[in-house]
Symmetry: C2
Subunit: 198 residues, 2 copies
């Protein structure tokens, strides 16, 4: 529809997740009327991220050297390991400042519909990490959806025989939420996981 | 939150229109796990668009040389000029294959709330173009919203004294639409612009 370079850019932007043809067009025209140095900074950031950032050899989190910030930190407890799906989950958990252990990033969840099996995740690396017996508890913090639950069940079955404590994050009502708007499954889980307070 | 390069990319992506922090993060992680040649192609497309694409000296449309494809085409009628807000409007009108004239792209619409006045649009260039008397009809095809209507009114007032025919695109019910869901203003316009069929 457009002349060469504009259409090329719209096509490339359209490959990004969550960017449809209309958004791609909007972003392309935004870039056309943006200051060249700002546009250059975006292009550089894209190139730099591919050059500099890799995945931590130990846990699979994003890192700018062999090991990520957390794995390289000697103050983090070695006996507590939290298993998550993606690097962004690490950020979310770090933000709570509640967790003092280390992470293991699977790189996704078991999802047969999209052709993701256990071998596509960093499960073998997890078992290797557990080999030295330092880890005492593995907290499985996969997403509370079908794929996350399937992954958690699979991992639990693999880890329990190794003699390690396996735990899962609590399911229940979100703090600040409203009972009226809770779905049945969440409410069911909240009953199941109820705590005695007196 | 993230290490240097990832956070830089998220920040840069967050400056794009319609990209919030969550989308920026999603796109950044998508790029991290994308093949480097594909990522390079996106960065190159961004750089190329700024190097190659400029705005047509005559009409203000996007162009890869001094004049855009349409202004350079001798088969396009010189007596018919369609005034639009943005280059994307040219594409939309071209898609109808109904219009055989030329375009003038204003580069926006009068919008005092966002500090856009008549001097920020390519109105002076429009008057210069009309100077040689070749254009007989100016079709104002600004958006049918408050800013577009204000721009159309302003242009009409400037163009009528020049002795040129000024027209506006018809307002009315969208084809394939449903009378029940038409808003009052559109329905009012449809009555106003009704045509005798017998």
């Amino acid at each position: 529809m457009y002349d060469g370079a504009v259409q090329d850019l719209i096509d490339e932007l359209g490959h990004l997740p969550g960017i449809g043809p209309k958004s791609a067009q909007r972003i392309a025209f935004h870039l056309l009327s943006t200051d060249p140095t700002d546009v250059r900074r975006l292009a550089d950031a894209i190139i730099t991220v591919k050059e500099k950032v890799r995945f931590c050899a130990t846990c699979g989190n994003v890192a700018e050297s062999e090991q990520c910030r957390i794995c390289a930190d000697p103050r983090r407890a070695e006996d507590l390991l939290c298993v998550v799906e993606e690097p962004k989950d690490v950020v979310v958990i770090e933000r709570t400042r509640e967790f003092r252990g280390r992470y293991h990033v699977l790189g996704g969840a078991i999802d047969p519909m999209n052709g993701v099996g256990p071998d596509d995740l960093r499960i073998r690396e997890l078992l290797t990490r557990l080999g030295d017996g330092k880890v005492e508890e593995v907290i499985i913090a996969t997403d509370p959806n079908i794929e996350g639950e399937a992954t958690a069940t699979y991992l639990t079955r693999m880890l329990v025989p190794l003699g390690v404590t396996v735990s899962r994050l609590a399911s229940g009502l979100p703090v600040g939420g409203d009972l009226e708007y809770a779905d049945e499954v969440t409410l069911g889980r909240a009953f199941e996981g109820r705590r005695t307070v007196s």
